[in-house]
């Protein structure tokens, strides 16, 4: 045990002395946490619309006004024909092209049915989905308006269901509330995995590890001696992150901090285990970094930070369930936004703990003082 204390003393001294690393590990992430959530915004606004108005009537004009008045769409321009409007979409000058055919109002009243033509640039799914949905809903509303005006004398007798919707836990639909906790996790992840992988390999490369291998330090003490400083750094970064979230975004966790920190520690334990494991398989820093980058990138893209895990095919969801970040992000969001407690997060917490145990055991077994 005393040996551990000496090890920790050395590790902390080295970390605190290394200005460059400290600023990369603490300052850079915090700056990103402050600035980058501003970029995360899925809300539907400024969708550019190109209109082909063949009807040229106050009728069609009213529809167009309704669309632009919604605040979600921006009229980029009028095109003389549908193919030209499509060309505007092709050139990224418009996201959506809308064609109102000639004699629109007249045909609608006479035949009780009329088409409108909409083309959406569907490369980016969210915009296409939401944009299409909003446009459809505006057109629906417009349709109801028309019916009301034309049938004001004969009220509609068909029964109608009304769905009243409420939003729980984030009534203001503040997307930052959802993204900031996740981005914090991303930053902590990069820091933790990278640090632990690089550090051990650095010792391998410089030879100091051989010196350690020759001493009576037990394997697990050595590994603990590496993990504890990173655990500490991770906790510090996380805490600073929470403070930043509070100061800049007004985010105060609804749930208990105890639950958060307990989950954090289990999470760091798992990620550091991963870093150590990668280090045992790497001979050079370049290798450990390539491996670390691979995992980090996959975690970032697939753990539900930016896209929903539920939407993935079954096999992908199964893979994602082995990622510690996916569980921690879920926990973060649940605890911060909904006030979930220990009993609510049993499954993700246990999953993380098991994965962590597995990774760390593998790492310790793999690390050989004798070759």
């Amino acid at each position: 045990m005393r040996t551990l204390i000496f090890l920790l003393e050395k590790e902390f001294r080295q970390i605190l002395r290394n200005r460059q690393i400290l600023s990369t590990l603490l300052i850079a992430p915090l700056i990103q946490l402050i600035l980058l959530p501003l970029a995360a915004d899925y809300s539907v606004k400024n969708i550019s619309l190109a209109v082909v108005d063949n009807d040229h009537s106050p009728f069609s004009q009213r529809l167009i006004n309704k669309i632009t008045a919604s605040g979600h769409f921006r009229l980029t321009g009028y095109a003389p024909s549908y193919p030209e409007a499509l060309k505007m979409v092709e050139q990224d000058k418009a996201d959506i092209a809308l064609q109102i055919p000639i004699h629109f109002e007249r045909d609608l009243v006479r035949e009780n049915n009329k088409q409108l033509y909409v083309a959406i640039n569907a490369i980016e799914g969210t915009k296409a989905n939401l944009g299409g949905a909003y446009l459809a809903s505006i057109i629906r509303n417009y349709n109801d308006d028309i019916r009301l005006r034309w049938q004001s004398t004969t009220p509609s007798t068909s029964p109608q269901i009304e769905a009243v919707s409420t939003n729980w836990y984030n009534p203001l639909l503040n997307f930052k509330l959802y993204m900031v906790p996740a981005i914090l996790v991303v930053l902590v992840t990069v820091m933790a995995a990278l640090q632990s992988a690089l550090n051990i390999v650095h010792e391998k490369e410089s030879g100091t590890i051989e010196q350690i291998n020759v001493t009576p330090i037990k394997k697990h003490i050595f590994i603990l001696g590496k993990m504890i400083p990173f655990l500490a750094l991770g906790i510090i970064l996380f805490t600073l992150g929470l403070v930043v979230g509070w100061i800049f975004y007004g985010i105060v966790p609804i749930g208990s901090l105890l639950v958060l920190y307990a989950s954090l520690i289990v999470y760091l334990f798992a990620m550091l285990g991963l870093g150590l494991l990668l280090a045992t398989y790497s001979a050079t820093q370049q290798q450990s970094m390539s491996l670390a980058f691979f995992f980090i990138n996959i975690f970032n893209m697939m753990s539900g930070v930016f896209t929903a895990v539920d939407s993935m095919p079954g096999w992908a969801q199964a893979i994602v369930s082995t990622f510690p970040p996916s569980h921690f992000i879920k926990i973060m969001r649940m605890v911060v936004l909904k006030g979930s407690s220990f009993s609510d997060i049993t499954w993700p917490l246990t999953a993380m703990a098991l994965i962590g145990l597995f990774l760390n055991t593998w790492a310790v077994l793999n690390y050989r003082k004798t070759s």
Partner: protein, 246 residues
């Protein structure tokens, strides 16, 4: 008195390549034992086996009375080691390095303090106590590394090519440290490819192509081969090896 190091047919193979072949020798307490040979002869491999860093492929060996196969952790408690890269931490000060290694060998705080002052005095590094190791000149780093290797008063200290890259005067000073340790009863097992350093040892073994080609005191070896210095002893042996290859 039982030998502190004893090997019998100690062998290490890497696939088909036999790095160390059936090494058999003994080292006595307090000896300065030189393990010589050209680069690639197998010296470092042999040393790593004795330190518990590498498991032998064949043969037997004991170090400080402990078996190299089954009791490596016990061996490590009783030996010191200085590697080719003088593994001191560049970003720690002289004092901090001493404190760290003393601590992990189980010395208590009082003993560490006493020992640190001793070392600083002996090495004349009092003024550099708080200097980062990376700022020290190479010769001082080496001396410090050696002192750190024996900070816990081990029975044996293994030195792997400790004097690379410094001038002869500094090398001589380094060997003064080795003599001092030996006088205190520490057995010194040193590998080197500087043949002149062989003169400083009590006994010397010369490895050629993974095998011990000669083992005796420098004086006896020079007599045996009828040459004036150890360099020539080595040439003789190396030439023999080449001839065998033909």
């Amino acid at each position: 008195m039982p030998p502190v190091i004893s090997t019998n047919q100690l062998t290490k193979r890497f696939g088909q390549f036999v790095a160390a072949n059936a090494l058999t020798f003994e080292v006595d307490k307090g000896e300065i034992f030189g393990f010589l040979g050209a680069n690639g002869a197998g010296k470092t491999t042999a040393m790593r086996m004795l330190c518990g860093l590498s498991t032998p492929s064949d043969g037997k060996a004991t170090v400080a009375g402990f078996d190299v196969y089954t009791q490596t952790e016990k061996i490590k408690q009783n030996i010191g080691y200085m590697s080719q890269k003088f593994s001191l931490y560049d970003d720690l000060t002289v004092t901090e390095n001493i404190r760290f290694y003393a601590g992990i060998y189980g010395m208590n705080t009082k003993a560490i303090k006493t020992k640190t002052n001793e070392l600083l005095q002996e090495l004349q590094l009092e003024k550099e106590a708080k200097t980062l190791v990376k700022a020290l000149p190479l010769g001082w780093k080496q001396k410090l590394a050696f002192s750190v290797a024996i900070v816990h008063d081990p029975d044996i200290v293994f030195l792997d090519e400790p004097t690379g890259g410094v001038d002869p005067v500094t090398r001589r000073q380094f060997w003064d440290l080795i003599y001092a340790a030996s006088d205190k009863g520490v057995t010194v097992f040193v590998t080197t490819h500087y043949m002149d350093e062989a003169e400083y040892c009590n006994r010397v073994s010369i490895m050629v192509d993974g095998v011990i080609a000669a083992l005796d005191s420098p004086a006896n070896l020079k007599h045996q081969f009828s040459v004036a210095n150890m360099e020539d002893v080595f040439y003789e042996l190396a030439r023999n090896a080449k001839r065998k290859a033909d």
